[in-house]
Symmetry: C2
Subunit: 193 residues, 2 copies
């Protein structure tokens, strides 16, 4: 259910084609919510059919080819606002990392170490990307944020930026906690073998 709101949220920044949306989901939005193309295109169509987005055919290339540029409608903004104001259902996290960690005694120590090292690399890389994105939000060089700010009263800019960076602060804090945890795991393995 969150995918649709992630899509609307993104498109409040500025209108985009499905392809652009899909690229964004591989980058900044993807940090917050991941989805593959095969979910994005159909969901955009569904949102359009429900009147939360408009799909405008714009010419592309030399021939009579077109691409669809989606924009949020007033109804879409209202639906998003309503979702934002609705109470959140408790979120069950289901992270296989904890399951593996708890039963690491069942793994070959070599493989366990390899696993933790790959986790370490994953978190390290993700941390770099998150921090870079947060910096782009803070200094307003983030393209979608910049587009969004243009359509908004300047008095509100600071507030919007504060919330966007706040979300990244949470993700960054979590990554740091996870990274430290993985490093503890490597020490634990080393101590045991």
């Amino acid at each position: 259910m969150s995918l649709r709101y992630a899509l609307i949220a993104l498109l409040t920044g500025r209108p985009m084609t499905g392809y652009e949306v899909s690229k964004r989901f591989g980058a900044s939005v993807g940090h917050v919510w991941h989805a593959p193309d095969s979910q994005i295109y159909p969901e955009l169509r569904r949102l359009e059919s429900e009147g939360l987005l408009t799909g405008e055919d714009v010419p592309w290339g030399t021939k009579a080819r077109t691409k669809t540029r989606y924009a949020v409608t007033a109804a879409g903004e209202a639906a998003f606002r309503e979702w934002m104001n609705s109470p959140a259902s408790p979120h069950h996290s289901r992270d296989p990392a904890y399951l593996r960690a708890a039963y690491l005694d069942w793994a070959d120590p070599m493989k366990a170490r390899q696993y933790l090292l790959s986790q370490k690399q994953f978190h390290t890389e993700r941390l770099v990307v998150l921090e870079a994105t947060r910096a782009m939000l803070a200094d307003r060089t983030h393209p979608v944020l910049a587009a969004r700010l243009e359509s908004i009263d300047e008095a509100e800019h600071e507030r919007i930026i504060a919330f966007r960076t706040y979300a990244y602060d949470g993700m960054i804090a979590r990554e740091r906690a996870d990274l430290k945890w993985v490093e503890d795991g490597l020490r634990l393995l080393a101590a045991n073998d």
Copy 2:
């Protein structure tokens, strides 16, 4: 795909009926991996049909009623070990909390505050439960862990407990980070309104 390994992992502690498994998923295992009854019972049957578990009918009550007690087979242990040794696919976290946080400017400030307060309560309560469970693992009063240890050479006990508590340390650290983040959010809201 992880549900089945969570089930096998739990049952390596000791044999259980579907009902006991389901209760455990509402408690300690549930911290690591959540699943409702409607997933648990069919999956246990599937695992039995694949030979990873055995289902033994044991009498229950006075009449000819029976319940099924599941136990891990050698094949089940092998499959679990194999999974533990396989490289982990990158895990895409999809936490609606970050999506909401990033767009908190769209919410009514009152509702945003209520939302964050409910998040705070959720994390606080979860933290208490996680710490209590971790303590029970550390002092070996956790029933499933205790049962598991009985069937295992004492030289290995420390190692097993270390990994079980290590998993909880990760979840606890994450909860603490999330809690701090939520509190920052409340301060941010207060500063803005």
